[in-house]
Each structure stands twice: as structure tokens, then as C-alpha cells.
């Protein structure tokens, strides 16, 4: 079935040819890298500002009060004001911290964030890295943030940071399994690990409908595990310890704290974006197999609008969790993963494999 979604590959291809015509190949590649880097940094900055503002407004609505609404229209410039304040703060480095590791930790977390963002398709052709093994790459790279958190906890020379960092590390490592397994379930359905291939495969129906029961189970497990991965929501005992202090990033102030904070929000966005891509079709509009007219209507909305709608919808769901539920204790978090989610995942993989082999899907 034909459709007229704008494909960015033509645009990028033409740009690439233009660069090659005007400069040497090495310089062209370097310029392309710089442009892509700057675009990503700008995207991360803008998205971070927007997400933090959204979180404050959404949480205010749940708590029946107004959020920031004075600075700028609807309080949109509030986050910029906060970041200016954070950047002007004195960066206090406590005595006897391991200086190298202390300074390194926030940057590792941010680097991991950029690496994961690079693999997600925002629109046809608009994707940083298009591997054949996209899903595998994503699982591997998102594990790097654990190192950043553990380093932050250890190098702060503070008992609470150490406890917070170790708890957080244990939690993230455990939930990586669930994340990877639920993604594997969908890879079985899609038949390919590359993200663009997965999105293309949802052209006639989104995977969450296509794979009915096992896909829905995988979706729920992925959302739970994704929230735990980013230390958010009901799983934020290592960090929002209202009993002790702020967990592994207690001793960080100013711009370094801002980096951790930003990384948390954007990791949440990455989790939602990956869920939207793998389960809800990414930038693919809602198509139903044989309804041509309906599909044409859906195609009128540009693909990146679809993508952001789905991602922000899931971000809203994740924020909803955080402001409604109390916190889980750390041994309950680990019990949830090892005793409940892992067997469910394994069973689900078998179920999906059966479904695919017997072609019992839409």
C-alpha cells in the first residue's frame, strides 16, 4: 500500500552528496559528525527543559495545586531560570573525595544517555545510528550508566552515598535483565533487531496489537522494568531517600548535579521512546490492515508528531506512577525482579515463540 510519509533519507542523502562535492571526504565526515552532535545536544537540552516543566505541572495537577505558572507563559521559562541558578552555584567538592572518579561520574551517565538516544528512530530516516543489531546495542549501552552511579556513590566519601549507590547499582543490574528479555520477546515477533526494521514491520499493525497476549505482558513488564532502570517512580529508594539524604548524588552540587538530574529525566524519555518504538509503532501511524481510507487519514499526521505523541503519552504514565504510589523497599524491589518478573519473562518468551511459529497472530 502506498503512502506519502516524508522520508528524511532523501534529505540526508542530498546533504551528504553536497558535502562530498565541496570538501575532502575526511572533512565532510567530520563536519557531519559535528552537525549531528550539535543537533543532539540541542535536542537533549530542549527536551530536558520541557520534560522538567511537564513533570512539575503534571505532579501539581495530581496534587490539586498549580505548578510553576509565573515565569513566562504557563511557566515555561521556569526550568531555564532553574538551570541558570544551578550553573551559577558554587561547586563544592568535599574533602577527601576521589577527585578523578568524582568528576568522572556525571559525565559517564550523560555519555550513556547520548549513546542510547542515538539509536532511536524519530522519523523515517531521522536516526542517529542504524545498526542491524539496534536492540542489542541499546541493552549493552544502557548498562554503562551503572558505572557512573557506582562511581558517584563510592567516590563521595559519604556513607549515605555509598549505600545509595550500591542499592541503585543492584537495582539497575537486576532490572536490565527484564528490559532485555521483554525486548527480545518483541524481536522474536519482528524477526529483526534493527530499530528501523522493527518500525517497518509495524506498518500494517502495531506490535502490541499484533502480538496480543504476549506483547501486552511484555509491554507491562517493560514499563515496570524501565521505571526501575531509571531509578524513578516507586523504585526510587536509592535516590529520593526521604529518610536519609539524596542518595548517591548527595555530594554533588551545581552543574554536576544538573547533569544527574537531566540524565534521569532523559532516561525516562528514552525508556518511553523505546517502548513506543518497539510496542506502539514508533513513528508509524496507526494503520489497520485492510482499511485503506482510515490509513490515508492517519498518514496525514506527520510521523514525528506520532512519535512524540506516543513517547510523551508514556512519559505521562511514568509520571503518574511516581506521584501516586509509595516507595518499595529495596529487598522488595529485588524480590519483584528475581522472583516475579524473571519467570514471567521467560514464560512470555516461550509463549511468543509459540505464537510466532504457529502464526497465531494478526
Amino acid at each position: 500500500m502506498g503512502f506519502n510519509l516524508y522520508d528524511f533519507t532523501t534529505f540526508t542523502h542530498n546533504l551528504h552528496i553536497w558535502f562530498l562535492e565541496n570538501m575532502s571526504p575526511g572533512l565532510a565526515t567530520t563536519v557531519e559528525w559535528v552537525i549531528v552532535g550539535v543537533l543532539y545536544i540541542a535536542f537533549v537540552a530542549l527536551l530536558g527543559l520541557f520534560l522538567i516543566w511537564a513533570e512539575r505541572r503534571v505532579c501539581a495537577i495530581f496534587q490539586q495545586r498549580l505548578g510553576p505558572n509565573r515565569v513566562g507563559p504557563f511557566g515555561l521559562i521556569q526550568t531555564i531560570a532553574d538551570f541558570i541558578k544551578l550553573m551559577m552555584k558554587e561547586i563544592v567538592t568535599p574533602r577527601k573525595v576521589d577527585k578523578y572518579l568524582y568528576n568522572l561520574a556525571p559525565y559517564i551517565v550523560i555519555c550513556c544517555l547520548f549513546l542510547t538516544l542515538g539509536a532511536i528512530p524519530f522519523a523515517p530516516g531521522l536516526q542517529g545510528l542504524d545498526f542491524d543489531i539496534g536492540v542489542f546495542y541499546l541493552s549493552a549501552v544502557s548498562s554503562i550508566s551503572v558505572i557512573g552511579i557506582l562511581l558517584a556513590g563510592w567516590s563521595s566519601n559519604n556513607k549515605y552515598s555509598l549505600i545509595g549507590g550500591i542499592r541503585s547499582g543492584a537495582q539497575i543490574i537486576s532490572y536490565e535483565l527484564s528490559v532485555a528479555m521483554s525486548l527480545i520477546t518483541m524481536v522474536i515477533l519482528a524477526g529483526t533487531m534493527s530499530f528501523s526494521g522493527i518500525v517497518e514491520g509495524q506498518r500494517d499493525l502495531w506490535f502490541i496489537f499484533k502480538g496480543h497476549i504476549p506483547a501486552v505482558i511484555a509491554f507491562v513488564v517493560f514499563l515496570i522494568a524501565g521505571t526501575a532502570e531509571t531509578n524513578r517512580g516507586p523504585f526510587d529508594l536509592p535516590e529520593a531517600e526521604s529518610e536519609l539524604t539524596a542518595g548517591f548524588h548527595t555530594e554533588y552540587s551545581g552543574i554536576k548535579f544538573a547533569l544527574f538530574y537531566l540524565a534521569e529525566f532523559l532516561n525516562m524519555f528514552v525508556v518511553s521512546a523505546v517502548a513506543a518504538t518497539v510496542f506502539l509503532g514508533g513513528w508509524m501511524p496507526l494503520h489497520f490492515g485492510g482499511f485503506e481510507g482510515f490509513n490515508h487519514v492517519m498518514d496525514m499526521i506527520p510521523p514525528f508528531v506520532w512519535f512524540f505523541l506516543k513517547s510523551f503519552g508514556l512519559v505521562f504514565v511514568l509520571m503518574w506512577f511516581k506521584w501516586t504510589f509509595p516507595r518499595l523497599r529495596v529487598d522488595q524491589i529485588l524480590t519483584l525482579e528475581w522472583k516475579y518478573l524473571l519467570p514471567i519473562n521467560l514464560f512470555n518468551i516461550l509463549l511468543m515463540a509459540t505464537v510466532v511459529l504457529t502464526k497465531f497472530h494478526f
Binding site: 556513607k159 504510589f325 509509595p326 516507595r327 522488595q332
Partner: protein, 377 residues
Amino acid sequence: MSEIKEIFITSDKIKTDDYVINMGPQHPSTHGVLRLLIKLEGEIVLNVEPHIGYIHSGIEKMCESLAYNQIVHLTDRMDYLSAHMNNEAVCLCVENALQIEVPDRVKYIRTIMDELMRISSHQLWWSAYGMDMGATTCFFYGLRDREYILDIFEDTFGARLTLNYNTPGGVMFDIKPDFQKKVKDFIKYFRNKLPEYDQLLSGNIIFTERTKGVGILSLEDTIAYGVTGPSGRAAGFSCDVRKHHPYSAYPFVKFEEMLDTTGDTYARYTCRIREMWESMNIIEQLIDNIPEGDYALKMKGVVKLPEGQYYQRVETSKGDFGVFIESDGKKNPYRVKFRSPGFSNMFALNKMAKGLKIADLVAIMGALDLVMPDIDR
């Protein structure tokens, strides 16, 4: 060689230090200035030692140089969430010592204000507890509803927290004409809102997993440590002073004492929520029948108690509050002692929290509803 083997096999030869964490006097949650020294082994609590005295103001010593109607003003500042009941305790002690009977109107007003204060104290407790557990939204819901009660207080007394409404012989001023209507409106409003609290927190499986079976205190220990109030009733200790030694208008109302048998944190939580329902029932029985009359007796300017020792108990929202006055016939008391419920409740913490995790300690402390000025006096 054999010594080295010995060291590795019997690990008690290896010297280890205890890992002691300090939950310092400044808390992100609203417990007040309490310092806990927690000895840990990994995540398990071996020993909890509270250090208090950060807000010790010497109230008992101050009372020895004040007149009896001036002592009332100091009692507000102890357990400020049940200020009215503290005031009432001192006034009742003085009135019983002088063997005077206050008019019925005073008794009804005092009891209605008691119960409103109890509801507002439990609302603040619930808000802070939800926030401690991580469900920050509870904080806003509880405080939003508490504002209605504080508005009623402000209309009647002029103050929201430190009320100074009671005085030996009666109350300071009469209630306003629209008092009954306001209270009835509030009760109607709150009856609709209280199920929301259950939906948000009590029914949540995360919450029940964190509180059921945590911090169990057996009935013998409860009585031995003197843990009263909803914390004690959760273990089955029937200690409600309103039932056993009724005062003010409590002989005229019918209500139930909320008992439970498990003695864990969840039982303490539900006892308090049920107490809120029961308080509303008590207010409804009293609000329409406030008798006419004087709002205070004419008392002499200087009150002197006959010689002897007097003890008066009231039921505050935390438990069994007692006032012990020893008088030698002069216009200042010889010794005043306040038996604060928080003091006895808090020191059972070590027994409850041994062997549990740090996060459980927070859950237990929240359910005990500690107010530090009450403990430190």
C-alpha cells in the same frame, strides 16, 4: 600456617567495626529534632538508639514559677498537634483539685474541640506518613482537608495551632453562632473525603507490603513499655482514657474503642484511620445538643490548690497524657510533671526495629506518630 588457617575459619578472630549511621537531628521528613544512632549490618538494623534533648525547653521548671492559669499556655507548646487536650488536662487537674464543677456547656465545647483537634492531628500524621513512604500526593490531600478545621479554630479562638482556649473554670470566650453549622458542613465534607485516603494509601499493595508484619510489638511489651494511644491499641492494649476514666462530656456519648490484635505498623495505621471515623461520630452526637449556659465559672484571681498530689489523665491523639501537680498551698505549684505519651512510645522503637531494615525503621517511626516537643518537654 595453622594460625592463619584458624583466622580464616573462625571469623570472630577478625576484628570488625560496627557500621553506625546517624539519622541526624535534621530530617527531610517532619519528625522533628530527633537523632537516631543506628547500628547496621549491611541493611539490617542491629540497634537503634534515640538521642533526644534538642528541643528541651525546661517547661516543668518554668511551671514552678507560674500561676496555675499561666501553666496552660505552656502546655500548648508540648504536643502542639493536640494543644487543646493538653490545656484541658491542666484545667481539669486544677478543677478537680479545687472540687469545682464546670457548666455542661463548657464540657460539650471542650469535647467537641477535642475531637476536632484529634481529627486534625491524625490528618497531619497521615500526610506526613504518606510522604515518608514516598506517596508525596498524600501530603497535599491531608493538609487540604485540615485547613477546614483550622479555619473553624481560627474563627473561634483566633489561633490555628497554639490555642489557649481552656482556662481553669471554663473556656476563654463563647463559641460563635455559626459554629455548629460550620462543624456540620465540615463533617459532611470529610465523610466523603476520608474514603479517598483509603484508596490512595491503605489499599495500595506496595503500602501493605511495607507495613504488614513490620514492627510487631507484643501485648506484654506494649504494657511493659507503657505504649498507649493508637500505637498501643494496635496490639490489643485497651488504654483509652476516654473509656476507662471519662472526663468532660465523654460520659454522655457512645463510641467504640478501636482495638486490633496484630500489633504491627499496619494495625497502628488502621487504628488511627478508624479513630478519625469514630471522632466524627462523637462530634455528631454532641454538636446539636450544646446546652445553654455560662462559658466559664467565676474564679478567684489567684488560684491556690490545697496541699497534696493530683493526677489527671486525658486521651490525646498520641496516647495517655498525664498531668501531675504537687501543691504546697502556695500560688505557684511545687512540682508539675507532664507524662507525655510520645516519651513512652518512642523508647519502644529499639524493640520494634531490631532485625529489620532501614526502610522499615522509617515506616515504624511514622506510624508511631512522634512529636518531639512532647518527648523533650
